[in-house]
Symmetry: none
Subunit: 207 residues, 4 copies
């Protein structure tokens, strides 16, 4: 699992930090989704968090910190969901099919958050951006591992140097449901979408 950059806080009690940051993240996610990062003010974040503006700055150092916290939270949420569900299946191929279906459903439920990360990530300072990108890569690597398992057990046929690319394809086509939903959902249901994309991906992996 990818590392998380720790954001300094003036408050020392780690339990309290966790609680307050939870409030902050919950408030900020909604606000960022609704109005975007730049159009959300720190005052709004504080108000929606139920704390004072001064208190907000006891738990973060800058507005960008909040964005990082939010991105990290979303990624962790995705990761956690994947960890719960992505290892089922008798062989690599079955696991892959299950994982795709599950991942795409997660993407469907988190479309606003997927968009948020895609659109606001660039506002992060360099070092935070690297952490976020690493998490993005980490998620992709989960599919790499499934693919490798399938290759090993013979249920999937794929050149080794295609593994990484195929994993990215799987992830991006899942995210595509989120950021092209405005047009895709006019023509396909989520399940149709999953079926189509799954068969495309599987076709790409047989002898």
């Amino acid at each position: 699992m990818a590392k998380t950059k720790s954001i300094p806080s003036l408050v020392k009690d780690p339990e309290l930090v966790k609680i307050r940051r939870g409030q902050i993240i919950r408030a900020a996610v909604d606000l960022f989704v609704e109005k975007g990062f730049h159009k959300t003010t720190t005052r709004e974040i504080a108000r929606e968090s139920g704390i004072g503006i001064g208190t907000l700055y006891e738990y973060i150092q800058s507005k960008e910190d909040v964005l990082y916290l939010v991105c990290d939270f979303i990624h962790s949420d995705v990761e956690q969901k994947l960890d719960e569900e992505m290892t089922h299946g008798r062989n690599g191929r079955e696991t892959l099919v299950n994982a795709i279906r599950y991942f795409y459903r997660v993407m469907d439920g988190m479309q606003d958050y997927v968009l948020l990360i895609y659109q606001e990530m660039k506002s992060l300072p360099g070092d935070m951006l690297r952490y976020v990108l690493a998490k993005e890569e980490e998620i992709t690597s989960r599919f790499e591992r499934i693919l490798e398992r399938g290759i090993k057990d013979g249920s999937l046929v794929l050149e080794p140097d295609s593994v990484k690319l195929m994993a990215h394809n799987i992830v991006v086509l899942g995210q595509m449901w989120a950021f092209r939903r405005w047009v895709l959902s006019r023509h396909y249901t989520l399940d149709q979408y999953i079926d189509h994309q799954t068969s495309l991906i599987l076709q790409g992996m047989q002898g």
Copy 2:
């Protein structure tokens, strides 16, 4: 070809408007790519355009107008490039292969612009956003037409209701080269990328 929303200008001479807006767009594209829309100031746009801030506002009505002008310019540039090159090939299949290669190379050359549109589009006012999304769809539809041609001439095998999805796949996998370049280019050259993706797409289209 998708319509373009016309942005009002205080200056009446249309030739001059075209020239000055050209300057503005050229300056703004670079600035937006470098610092993002929100962190670019109107004064910077004016300075880089070689005109005064007052003059800038003779040619636009708001900063969002500049963003629209930039998005529209980028899309038009892509469209124009596609129009020049995308119809070659003896049959649908060959045209598709050529088109993919050509499109992905365009995406490679315009990666900053692709990112720009993905990340800043949401800052457009509603009506402008609709125009930009329509252009995005228009670009996808060019691939739909190629696919349909291949189905008709028998060089491609594809269910009719998969056409739209496959066109989106082609486009998004092209854009993916732009917005995942930070990791993909560590493992694949552009041509490798094109070869892999082309074969994946073609595998998805045979009997």
Copy 3:
């Protein structure tokens, strides 16, 4: 009749100056009444005048010049109307009664302009302001002369040092119909107003 300050013009043909300034004044009066002096732009004045912004500045030197032209025009209009009608009557008393009625009706018809002068006058540069105030005084002095005539012919009884004050009273109570119209007109018709004020004024002038 009070002097009028001449506003310099780059255009030499006096006939043309008169015509163009007529256009400018007509446009500006309406705009100033509608939006006030400060919220009216020179561009709007030019547009409504049917001339270009460059041309506007051939006939004036600054925006304040337009305000002066407008104030002067309104005053001249009032003066001219008074000159036509204010000398009728067999004696001073009768002339006064006629003059009041006539003046108050003029004020009623010009209420927007009366307000305009009261509210925007202060934006005039010092020397122009003096000219406008002189015209205001000039109008008052017309009533002084009527009062003096009435004193002389015995139809009005008034201390000589009250003449000036009474003349101001007459004028201001006329203007009051304009700038308190929002409440007065809810309780009195114009003719009732005139009757009441006339009798008040006459009561103030009997032995």
Copy 4:
């Protein structure tokens, strides 16, 4: 007493709001008197108030708010002064004479403020304007009540439907001392003015 529109403030402590707005009003009154509303900048208001520009906007929402605060302050000041002094006198007639003298002296002391309200009132947004006009009417109604008392106790003779008009006359002739002072003071002292106008008004109210 007429209601006052409450202007929202970001600062919650009402005592502090009162103090800071006091500073702001004091600074703004002087500046508006000196240069007019439009030519006074918010930065000047802040500077003269002894606070930062950011702080200014913690206590108001727009420059118009300051104008309203100023108008309201002036009106309240007038009202308060009238309340202190205007009820003395054995009967209505005596009260009236005292009230006129007192009111006209107040007008003399506040001439700049009277002018300010007359000239800048129109820059208020619609709802604020209504509040200011209501206060203006409220002041007039104080004289109505004195007149009614005089009618009741027989010390003043006046048709009931003339009461309102006469009250307006009293007020406007008081304000006239403020806005025609430039000419009136060349011919009359304040006390002469008061004597003359008082006797005019009283002559209008006897059998």
